[in-house]
Symmetry: C2
Subunit: 366 residues, 2 copies
Amino acid sequence: MIPELLREKKAQFFVQYASSKNANFYYATGFKIPDPAFYMIGDDGTDLLVVHEMERRRAERESRVKEIASLKDLGFYELLKELGDPSIALSQTLFELLRTHGGRKILIPPDFPSFLSFYFRERMEVEVVENPFSRMRAVKRKEEVEKIRETSMAIINSFEYALKIIRKLKSCEELRSEIETHLFKNGFIAEDTIVASGLLSADPHNFGRGAIEDHIIIDIFPRSKEHGYYSDFTRTVMLEKNQDLEEMLEAVIEAKEKGISMVRDGVRAREIHETVCDILEERGYSTLRQKSSEGFIHSTGHGIGLEVHEEPRIYENKDILRKGMVFTIEPGLYYRKIGGVRVEDTVLVTSDGCEVLTPFRNFVRA
Amino acid sequence: MIPELLREKKAQFFVQYASSKNANFYYATGFKIPDPAFYMIGDDGTDLLVVHEMERRRAERESRVKEIASLKDLGFYELLKELGDPSIALSQTLFELLRTHGGRKILIPPDFPSFLSFYFRERMEVEVVENPFSRMRAVKRKEEVEKIRETSMAIINSFEYALKIIRKLKSCEELRSEIETHLFKNGFIAEDTIVASGLLSADPHNFGRGAIEDHIIIDIFPRSKEHGYYSDFTRTVMLEKNQDLEEMLEAVIEAKEKGISMVRDGVRAREIHETVCDILEERGYSTLRQKSSEGFIHSTGHGIGLEVHEEPRIYENKDILRKGMVFTIEPGLYYRKIGGVRVEDTVLVTSDGCEVLTPFRNFVRA
């Protein structure tokens, strides 16, 4: 994919400058590093990571990159002494590296930092392209699927635990803390877990707080401490009878199940989103397709892996589902005077359908 | 600080495009948001945050920014329909916003994403400047100090707990898990806590694994789940007699104490680093000043707050210590055939000295 891109764009290198908090950088290098480092991949087989001297040996052991260089090797410190300004010294060091490797044109990802791209741009051709690793990451390798499956199972365990204790707890904060600690002990970090009850649940991004009322949206999306892969799962738990909410819940369950039934290799993501909207509109709810600010006001789903939100998007776009993609299907309905409901599964596309990685009954009472 | 910068550079706005994972963005906006948003601050009093419609109400409630606009208000969706490409539609929407506010020249931080800066640069003057919020963040407000103090106390508690159980455990992994779970239950997230024993401790960035041997470096740097502030603390625990290591440990303790004694408002960071190097060299150890790859091979310290590493740097640079700054002093010595030792405290600069926020005895046996 990258060689083709380089040829098409008549460029010699695709480069990244980021820390491993950047999922594309981590995916490309397989190297966990807290501070930014430089990575270049070339049409001539170049696969080179530049780190500080202190990280060199660890990079040689732990990264999947062919060649490691340190800034010291590249003369950064002499240049820093001469120029005084670390960001110019770094820019010049990396530019010289590109130049000595025959770089005349480079490709950079959209989030490439401007201090470097502005320096490069004055000295060579620079073009911003979608990060090819984003697209590569959308289709998961087998071992990545296993990692997401592991995180999915941990979510289901923590949700079952939550259901056992939910009636003993008073506040959303307590329940969130119980779920997150349960996950943490098992090796998963969940933050901002949505545990939203009552009318606060009408805001899909509100994490929730205060008393546990008639119903509660629990949306859990942890990542593994060990390998970094996320999964994502939501259920709406009914604690008391509430006809409006239960009808909304039935509608989103129907929409989710119909959406999941459509998933297979080759299907357009857009069709799934449109069908989800159709079902909810047929049931009398408004959707973002009608520019409504209540009802179904977000997309149907998003890819998940090293990031909570990644490719593909299950929305009004052109993404085509491919075998090995992993994403969520998560219709919700939100009304300020009633509250919100949402159900969400993470699914894996197979050649003739999909596998739900977060299997759990849809309608949950506690 | 920002008005002065804008006047000096003859620019109308300083702008950021980031999520709240970016500490400068979070500091500027006070808004927790998982996906990138646009923030602009102007010489005309403009203080404006642009978010998706879905985040608008939450932004109005939770952010500290004066004015909130949504992409919908700004006509982004019409433009997207017309242009098809979301990144061009976004760039054009934000450029129009800047232009209608009278922007002719803008300032961007070094990490500003290139897809936007390249678009802007073709249409207006754009200059990369050090992020002024980085400098503002170096000097902590009172409430920030209290947050770091809270995290510091949680570290000390978890370290005391670690000392109680260390003899019962066999592996570095178990000890790391115990420390991190202890912190998590109390509301703090620690990841990559360094629990390094034996010769692995000779690599300052090795997290450690395997058997607990004669000594162990424990370096704990969690952040609060609630407010996001970090603190940082290291002790080297001696489990068996080892003359080489104990002499190294005495040297780094002396260097750390001397370094701390020099901290006060107005002192140059560089002097502290040089003194730490002097002490270690006088004791016969090599330092990075001599371009050695063993001995003391990292800087003396770093600011800490919303990031683990932030301004000021206690190193060969020009930073001047100011009242309210919070940073680490952490000399270490690393020899591949002996192992490593390090001691580290987080300190707060006061007008006539400093306060150690992580008070604990220096020489620890267990």
